[in-house]
Every structure is written in C-alpha cells, then in structure tokens.
Symmetry: C2
Subunit: 102 residues, 2 copies
C-alpha cells in the first residue's frame, strides 16, 4: 500500500479522512460514525498512519487521530492537468485533443 491513489480507492478510508477533516477524533468516535466494528476501523487508521495521512496522540486509554492532508498533494498534482480541461470549458479540451492527433 504505497501510493495515495490506492489509499483513496477504499471508501472506508475516504470516510475516515472526511471525518478527520472536522477535527481530531478518537477511535471510538470514528467507530460510532462509520458504524463499523472497531478492528476494521483501527486497521484502516493504521493504513492512514503508515501513509503519513494521520497521526495519533495518546489520551489515557484513548487514541486521538489527527489529519495530515499533505500526502494528498500527490493526487492533486496528478489531477492538475486534467482539471485544466474542465476549467477552461469543454470545447477547449476538444480543441486541444484535435490539434494533437497522432
């Protein structure tokens, strides 16, 4: 599980990231929100942590997770040239493709 692209492929992980976007969250809080069993959530949190997209802080028996969205930059940057297409109108893209015919 290396690339952030693969990370985003799993809907559970996307939901976790979306939750963490609203602030730090304990594992229990995330479990309740996602309505999944705790080990499944912990497992994906581990993946996010390993990828550098989240970090943990200990609070008594609780583990508080926090978002580190910088890793998503890779995806955003890959996407940038595509974004250009629909930002400058669809017709512009058509023109670009037409002019680049093999």
């Amino acid at each position: 599980m290396t690339s952030s692209f693969e990370l985003l492929a799993d809907p559970t992980r996307r939901r976790l990231l979306d939750e963490l976007r609203n602030g730090e969250r304990s594992v229990g809080a995330l479990v309740r929100r996602l309505k999944m069993n705790q080990p499944a959530v912990s497992k994906q949190l581990r993946v996010l942590r390993d990828a550098g997209l989240a970090s943990v802080r200990v609070d008594a028996q609780r583990r508080i997770y926090r978002l580190h969205p910088e890793g998503l930059r890779e995806v955003d940057e890959w996407l940038a040239p595509y974004r250009a297409y629909w930002e400058e109108r669809l017709d512009a893209m058509e023109r670009t493709l037409d002019s680049m015919e093999d």
Copy 2:
C-alpha cells in the same frame, strides 16, 4: 469497478490516461508506450471506457481511443476541501483543526 477513485488506484490506468492526455491514440500505440502485452492494455481501456473516461472510434482495423476527463471531476471535487489546507499554508490547517477539537 464503479467509482473513479478505484479507477485511479491502478497505475496502468493512470498511465493510459496520461498518454491520452496528449491526444487520441490507437491501441497499438498505447501498447508500445506502456510496454505491456496487448490484452492487458485492451482490458484496462475497456475499464476506462465503461467508466466514461474514454471513447473509441473505429479506423479500419484500428481502434482509436480518446480521453474524456470529466469523470475525474468527482475525485477533484472530493479533494477540494483538502486542497484548501495546503494552499493557505500549513499553519492555517493546524489552526482549523485545533479550533474544531471534539
């Protein structure tokens, strides 16, 4: 294989999209560029087609593929709120998260 997130998880598909970004391409041309065997390429092109990210045009025995990047908007829009973080400096994100503590 529904969401465009899962689509982007595969590096072969990302390479295909990147190639098509330079203009229409025949299957053979893509095979040569990716240095993969033809069925593997055709298979992923099929996935892209089914997802609406590419279309085919027939030219004699050739099939010419063309990019339709609009489907990537889903990913781009999901990413938008995260992009905000690194665009307005890391410190801003830290502040945001701190102020939203559970």
